[in-house]
């Protein structure tokens, strides 16, 4: 019997010993890498850098609607309506279109979330890069790229929401969750600072295989766009950490770009929206989309790289050889069609229903016009995956013609030449480079590229009221005239509401924008 007890005691001892065995419980993920010891090599840093770039292609956020920058800003503008299959389909978009945006708008929230994801990843990169074993050149170039990207995300965010928290480091814990909104001035100055620093460290050219990575020229052009908007809305100069970014400063940058970058206009205007023109000479900054990896997951479209805006804006057509089935969002306004009437760029800007082969299903706010620049055209069908999620057309964020027009607007000595270059390229004759003509040329040259809305806003609220309130009817409009009437709400100054969810989570730290 005693023998039994001894044996048993031994057995139990083993079991008890096992229970203090740390190894048994210290389990690490089997199929994933732990983030705390990830950032070591240049290769790791490159992955972290790509993760920042990745956010450029986000056009939706999980659990929230599709809200591509391009589609949203054009729907807000007087270039396009909401559209969609029917009034239900485009309900959220129609709230944008009619400036009747609830603070709970999922589209606004989607934009808000997206940009802060980009900002977080950029801030994280700037924090981890110190500990990376990499060359100084690698570090200075990638830091500059990340600063550009951070500026890009902040610019989109502050242009849409005006009053936002400015974060230049990642949040370290719950005690830092609450962040007050900064003034627009503080945010824009940070953007300017990031861009000015980026300009000095970014390369002037990149190897062909790296096309798509940020160059100095992209930073200069973005700085000009930032300045024009800020100066237009707030009537002030920017302060980039002591460097005053004023009209002269920006113009100098643009002249440098125009003279030294090697960027130029395409011979054919339409190449800007074709595969042949991708990462071409006219593209100063371009966001890349594609069908790798082929994507199928409707629940998480941002995992793929397709251009969702192009899918949304395509005509709702079946049996067509030239157009794949789109969703007819952002139907183009007859107001734009009128302005472009007789302009050679009309046929490359607006897709009319007469051009369509196959069977067209007319959706909500059918105008007979669709965007031709970003659309479900055959050339950009993805070769793989769920076709709606794999459109391959890149988004040309800043084109050289925009650069020329910005330089002209900022009072370049070569203003007339610049304006002429833009017009002559499309076969138009020279007109005097008056501010009005330059501004009007922007509308014709850059329509349906996500630029118009902010160009209108920066001209002041009364101008915005004139332009954005409209009820023009077109020959092919379908539906009650009532659904084509848009009235700008100047109480909001054209900004979106701070998402209600964010206000609720802020315990009163975040303050809602005026007019909401």
């Amino acid at each position: 019997m005693k023998n039994y007890i001894t044996k048993l005691a031994k057995a139990l001892l083993v079991v008890l010993l096992l229970s203090s065995c740390e190894d048994f419980l210290d389990l690490k993920p089997l199929d994933q890498v732990v983030s705390s010891n990830f950032y070591q090599t240049e290769e790791d840093a490159l992955k972290a850098l790509v993760a920042v770039y990745d956010v450029l292609t986000y056009q939706s956020t999980p659990g929230v609607s599709w809200a591509p920058f391009l589609t949203m800003s054009d729907i807000l503008s007087d270039d396009a309506y909401a559209g969609g299959a029917d009034a239900n389909d485009g309900m959220d978009e129609n709230e944008f279109n009619t400036f009747n945006i609830p603070t709970t708008s999922l589209l606004a929230h989607s934009i808000w979330i997206k940009n802060y994801i980009g900002i977080y990843r950029a801030n994280l990169y700037l924090e981890i890069i110190d500990g990376i074993d990499a060359t100084d050149d690698f570090k200075s170039r990638t830091i500059a790229e990340v600063k550009f990207l951070r500026a890009y995300f902040y610019f989109e965010q502050v242009r849409f929401f005006e009053n936002i928290p400015l974060l230049t480091a990642t949040i370290k814990g719950p005690s830092e969750y609450q962040q007050e909104q900064n003034t627009p001035q503080e945010v824009y100055n940070q953007i300017a600072l990031d861009l000015v620093q980026a300009i000095s460290d970014l390369p002037t050219s990149v190897p062909a295989a790296e096309a798509g990575r940020i160059t100095k020229w992209a930073a200069q052009a973005l700085l000009a766009r930032v300045f024009l908007f800020y100066n237009g809305v707030y009537n002030a100069d920017l302060n980039a950490g002591g460097t005053t970014v004023n009209q002269a400063y920006v113009l100098t940058q643009l002249e440098d770009l125009i003279t030294n970058s090697g960027h130029d206009l395409f011979e054919n205007y339409q190449d800007n929206f074709k595969l042949v023109g991708e990462f071409g000479i006219e593209s100063v900054f371009e966001i890349s989309h594609g069908d790798t990896p082929p994507w199928w997951d409707w629940g998480y479209p941002r995992g793929g790289n397709g251009n969702l805006a192009a899918q949304m804006q395509g005509p709702r057509v079946t049996g067509s050889q030239k157009w794949n089935r789109g969703w007819s969002f952002a139907t183009v306004n007859h107001k734009l069609a009128q302005d472009l009437a007789g302009d050679p760029r009309f046929q490359y800007t607006i897709l009319t229903e007469e051009e369509l082969d196959g069977t067209l299903v007319k959706g909500y706010q059918h105008t007979g016009y669709y965007s031709k620049k970003y659309s479900s055209d055959a050339e950009h069908w993805g070769s793989d995956g769920q076709f709606e999620l794999n459109r391959t057309c890149n988004f040309r964020v800043i084109r050289f013609s925009d650069v020329l027009l910005m330089a002209a607007e900022l009072g370049s000595a070569n203003a007339q030449t610049y304006l002429d270059r833009v017009r002559i390229r499309v076969g138009l004759s020279s007109i005097p480079a008056t501010p009005e003509n330059i501004y009007r040329e922007r509308r014709l040259e850059l329509s349906l590229e996500g630029i118009r809305y902010f160009d209108v806003l920066r001209k002041g609220l009364s101008f915005a009221g004139q332009q954005l309130t409209h009820s023009i009817s077109g020959p092919n409009y379908v539906g009650d005239q009532q659904i084509f009437q848009v009235t700008f709400n100047s109480n909001t100054k054209g900004f979106l509401p701070i998402p209600q969810t964010e206000i609720d989570l802020s315990a009163g730290t975040l303050v809602q924008n005026d007019g909401y």
Binding site: A51, D54, I119, G212, P294, T318, L505
Partner: protein, 1030 residues
């Protein structure tokens, strides 16, 4: 497990008494009988009170005893019966009838790592017997608890076969996973749908923390101990039981017919100054009643099982096989559950101090399901919202020769008929039959759960037990996406595709315990010490390709796909738990009892900062009625007071949440191709620790009328602290939130059960009523707004919230205050500063309440408009037996819960409506509760408000059964030991104010409770069944 100690005791008693006393000898003879049946009781003990003089009755119940004097008292006892004392009073013949003792105080209750006599149990344990389990045709064993275990709320998720019901023991104890821990024959299992209910001997629910503490870190939501039928000594018994049944929908919803539909939508257009869409004079070509087409008629349900038990003195066995198949009332074989199970339990006695045995179960499950409660992709949701003008099948040649029929891959039925497509309603509302036609998902499970165990009695009363168990499953998920065109928004016209996922789950568990028990006079001790180690492993493989030429959607394999978009993924995870525990129980004469438990758990789910947790508990009980001083309060004959306190843990979060991992799904396409990026998947929080649930339980167990009436009343207060939640954090943090210990929830309640059993004049009957009250309240939420987001509905965004001071997942929306009857009322509806609150409203629109009194009606006015969780749940069962006939009935119900009726998509144009809309507000016939119809809903009448909230209380006749057992002589002629036939009806009748299809709506998640998105209703089932033993 109920063990009859009868034979053992008889033997003991026979041995223990010896010798007779002969003084003033007086002999008494008589018969001991059962008070109810009148038949003799053999082996009853007849003792002269105050002496050791006694005898026992013979086989017929007759006895003879010589007592010391003619005035002696006889104490007559028998296990399971009330002990009775009679005065001899000089009589020579005394017949004694004994009352059956219905409290089953001698019965053993499973308490985890052992059993305990019910009388000395200090915790709150509710049990369900095999008999009760077999009363209803349940597919899953958890459904057997419904209505029978007070404090255990079982709500079927929907009527779809095989879906796991929502089980909440004493309320939702966490905002995370609130499911209880299931222990089957000592093995913690992940999911119990593999069990054949016919194999189950008992279910014992450990409700209070003190009882559950023996399972420490996983016990915060209660523990359900399931014991399978064990081996029995004796000759071989073969039992067949089976039934067949038919299922039909019990309630459909009255929808508008074609003319009413046209009239309503014309009116809506008119009210917005738009032209009318429909010509009312035109006779509609179709008037489709979608529900009529959707619901299957007489959907079959079948169950067959055979069990064989038997064995000799050394080895015993119990084995069984079963086959269960059930088709749903929606979708037929698209919503079907099939299960084949096999089981072998055996026990072997090697010698007097060593025993071993094993339990082994194999199950094969085939599950096909459809979305059972979904706004998007829900067949019933579409049936309720699709217009009646669309035909079930489009048969018009002209239509068929045009788009979309001519050019799109429209859906056809197996006979080639083309399903109609609405020209009016779009978005996610589609032809529900066509939607069902393209559902091809299927899950197949092969699962083995088993353990081997040995028990060694080292010295007398000291036992060592070891048990090694496994739970492994292969789960194969098939999915095939055909080409289809349901409408312009719901389509797949490019490529068919196929995907397969295979998951492998493997858990082992090794447990060792040492138990010592000792009786020293009236003191009864036992000590248990034990350890558990378990490890969970998971691995999976996923494959995908497109372009599958398919003729039979049920047989689609990856090899058939011809595209080149091959995709393959696979992952793995693991988790471990290592625990030591101890339990001390003590009782004095079964009158004063004490139980103390302590368990220390270590879990791989937590980081080094907080890896271990300690979970203690204490319980005491006092049988007051055993006290000398206890006065005899008629009719109470038994009274026990219990009190317990304990702390349990909950660790049900994903693995490794204390560290962040890299997400490689980032990427960007440069000119040279796509580069892979990586960033942390979420913010890191190394400090997460266990959720801790602390609970106090105070209870009375009462017996009265000779224990014909038994009652139990429990009071409890349960607080769970440190709730683990991915609490929403501001989006400007820029990454997904980590798990954090961020809240506390309190559940307080009362549970009561009353059971009456009686046997009178050949009629044996019983009635049981139980009820439970629970109040749930969040008492801490650790983020700034004190709010956890909840479930969303359709496109309206969030409709439930969890907020400080309010119950989990309450309904959130606007409050209304009637309908504006006139323009004057609109002008009178003003805010604090006097401005008109709803200037855009028209008479007939909804009056909303400015809840926060800030002078505007906006998002901030949303408030609590309902509570999905019942205040009261109750169950009632009754049974009656007379001669060969038996009858039983089970009623279940809830009270004080609300339902969010979101089955109507009022946010969409041209959807069909219930006939309730016929009572809408019109100028001619003003309504006080239903707003007018409009096209432009400028007043936003359909925003989420209390108009969507309905009283969800109900009382349901869950089961009625009527049986007939063949008389013995007939049974004998058929060589059967028992042979019984029965008919039964399930969900026969429901009393409720709820207007939707079914008020029983389970929780889709902790925050998504009782939202009706077009719930797949439960079937009304009629069955014919038999049980026969040979």
């Amino acid at each position: 497990m109920r063990v009859n100690f009868q034979s053992l005791l008889i033997t003991l008693l026979m041995l223990s008494y010896s010798g007779y006393l002969y003084a003033q000898a007086h002999t008494v003879t008589g018969k001991v009988t059962d008070s109810e049946t009148g038949s003799g009781i053999p082996g009853a003990t007849i003792l002269e009170q105050g002496t050791t003089n006694g005898t026992s009755s013979n086989l017929d119940g007759n006895y003879s005893i010589t007592v010391s004097n003619p005035n002696a008292k006889l104490e007559v006892s028998f296990v399971g019966y009330q002990t009775t004392i009679v005065e001899v009073n000089n009589q020579n013949v005394i017949n004694i009838s004994l009352f059956f003792q219905t409290t089953e105080l001698e019965e053993l209750v499973v308490i985890g790592y052992g059993v305990q006599k019910k009388k000395v149990v200090t915790g709150a344990i509710a049990s369900v017997s095999a008999e009760e389990i077999s009363a209803t045709p349940i597919l899953r064993i958890d459904q057997a608890m419904q209505g029978r275990t007070p404090g255990v709320l079982v709500t079927n998720l929907s009527g779809q076969p095989g879906e796991a019901p929502t089980v909440r023991i004493r309320g939702a104890g966490t905002t995370g996973n609130s499911d209880p821990l299931y222990i089957v024959d000592g093995m913690a299992v992940g999911g119990i749908d593999y069990l054949n209910p016919g194999d189950i001997e008992s279910i014992d629910v450990l409700k209070d923390a003190a009882s559950a503490a023996i399972y420490g870190a996983r016990a915060a939501n209660g523990v359900v101990l399931i014991t399978t039928k064990g081996a029995k000594k004796g000759e071989m018994n073969v039992t067949y039981s089976g039934y067949r049944g038919i299922q039909n929908v019990s309630k459909t919803i009255d929808m508008l017919n074609a003319n009413q539909y046209k009239m309503i939508w014309n009116e809506a257009r008119r009210n917005s100054n738009l032209t009318e869409t429909f010509d009312l004079n035109e006779i509609p070509k179709h008037n489709t009643n979608w529900q009529e087409h959707l619901f299957q008629k007489n959907a079959p349900i079948t169950n067959h099982e055979i069990s064989v038990t038997g064995g000799n003195e050394k080895s015993t066995y119990a084995s069984s096989m079963s086959y269960y198949t059930q088709q749903g009332i929606i979708g037929g074989d698209k919503s079907q559950f099939d299960r084949i199970t096999g089981r072998l339990n055996s026990r072997h006695e090697v010698n007097s101090n060593f025993r071993f045995g094993s339990n082994l179960a194999y199950s094969h499950i085939i599950r096909r399901g459809i979305a059972s409660n979904q706004s998007f992709n829900g067949a019933y949701s579409s049936a309720l919202n699709l217009d009646p003008l669309t035909p079930l099948y489009e048969e018009d040649e002209y239509e068929l020769s045009n788009d979309p029929y001519a050019s799109e891959p429209v859906v056809t039925n197996p006979d080639g008929k083309v399903y109609g497509i609405s020209k009016i309603v779009g978005a996610e509302i589609v032809n529900p039959l066509a939607l069902l036609e393209i559902q091809n998902a299927q899950t197949r499970v092969d699962k083995v759960v088993g353990n081997i165990f040995g028990e060694l009695e080292i010295i007398e009363d000291l036992k060592f037990n070891t048990s090694l168990g496994i739970d492994m499953a292969y789960v194969l998920n098939d999915s095939h996406r055909p080409l289809f065109y349901l409408n312009g928004a719901q389509l797949n016209v490019e490529k068919t595709s196929v995907s397969k996922v295979i998951d492998r789950y493997y858990t082992w568990q090794w447990e060792n315990t040492i138990a010592y028990s000792k009786i020293i006079e009236d003191h009864n001790f036992s000590v248990l010490l034990g350890t558990t180690a378990s490890k969970f492993n998971f691995e999976n493989l996923f494959g995908f390709n497109a372009k599958v030429p398919v003729t039979d959607p049920n047989h689609v394999y990856l090899n058939m796909a011809t595209d080149t978009v091959w995709e393959a993924r696979g992952g793995a995870s693991h988790a471990a738990l290592l625990s030591t525990f101890g339990r001390l129980t003590y009782d004095y004469k079964s009158k004063y009892s004490f139980t103390g438990i302590i368990r220390r758990d270590g879990s791989s789910k937590f980081g080094p900062n907080n890896r271990y947790g300690i979970f203690p508990s204490l319980g005491v009980s006092w049988v007051i009625s055993d006290e000398e001083f206890m006065p005899n309060i008629h009719p109470i004959n038994f009274l026990k007071l219990r009190a317990s306190w304990g702390v349990n843990g909950n660790q049900e979060i994903g693995d490794y949440q204390f560290i962040s991992v890299m997400d490689y799904s980032r990427g960007y396409i440069f000119a040279g191709g796509r580069m892979i990026g990586a960033s942390p998947a979420y913010i890191e929080n190394a400090d997460i620790h266990w959720e801790e649930s602390e609970q106090i339980d105070i209870a009375f167990d009462i017996g009265a009328y000779n224990n014909r009436l038994t009652a139990t009343i429990d009071f409890y207060n349960k607080t769970t602290k440190g709730l683990l939640e991915r609490i929403p954090i501001p989006a400007h943090v820029g990454n997904d939130p980590p798990y954090a210990n961020v809240g506390s929830v309190r559940n307080r309640g009362i549970e009561m059960s009353f059971n009456w059993r009686h046997y009178i004049e050949g009629v044996k009957y019983s009635i049981g009523i139980n009820g439970a009250y629970n109040k749930n309240k969040m008492i801490v939420i650790g983020n700034e707004d004190g709010v956890l987001p909840g479930a969303t509905w359709a496109v309206a965004g969030m409709v439930t919230r969890t907020e400080l001071g309010l119950p989990i997942a309450y309904f959130w929306g606007y409050k209304t205050n009637g309908i504006f009857q006139s323009q004057a009322e609109i002008y009178q509806h003003i805010g604090i500063t006097g401005e008109v609150l709803q200037p855009n409203a028209k008479p007939g629109d909804v009056r909303f309440v400015d809840v926060n009194k800030d002078g505007v009606i906006n998002e901030k006015d949303r408030t609590m408009i309902g509570n999905p969780t019942p205040e009261w749940t109750f169950g009632m069962n009754g049974s009656i037996e007379y001669k060969q006939f038996d009858f039983s009935m089970l009623l279940i119900g809830t009270y004080g819960n609300d339902i969010f009726n979101g089955s109507q998509r009022q946010d969409l144009y041209y959807t069909n409506r219930t006939t309730a809309i016929l009572d809408r507000w019109t100028e001619e016939k003003p309504s006080k509760d239903t707003p007018r119809v409009t096209w432009y809903d400028v007043n936003n009448n359909h925003r989420v408000s209390d108009l969507y909230i309905e009283d969800g209380s109900y009382l349901r006749i869950k089961n009625v059964q009527f049986g007939y057992t063949l008389p013995e002589n007939l049974q004998k002629r058929l060589k059967a030991k028992t042979l019984r036939f029965y008919v039964s009806a399930e969900n026969l009748f429901t009393i409720t104010k709820y207007t939707g299809a079914d008020p029983e709506i389970g929780a889709m998640s902790s925050f998504d409770i009782a939202i009706d998105r077009g719930i797949y209703p439960q079937a009304r089932t009629f069955r014919l069944g038999t049980t026969m033993t040979f």
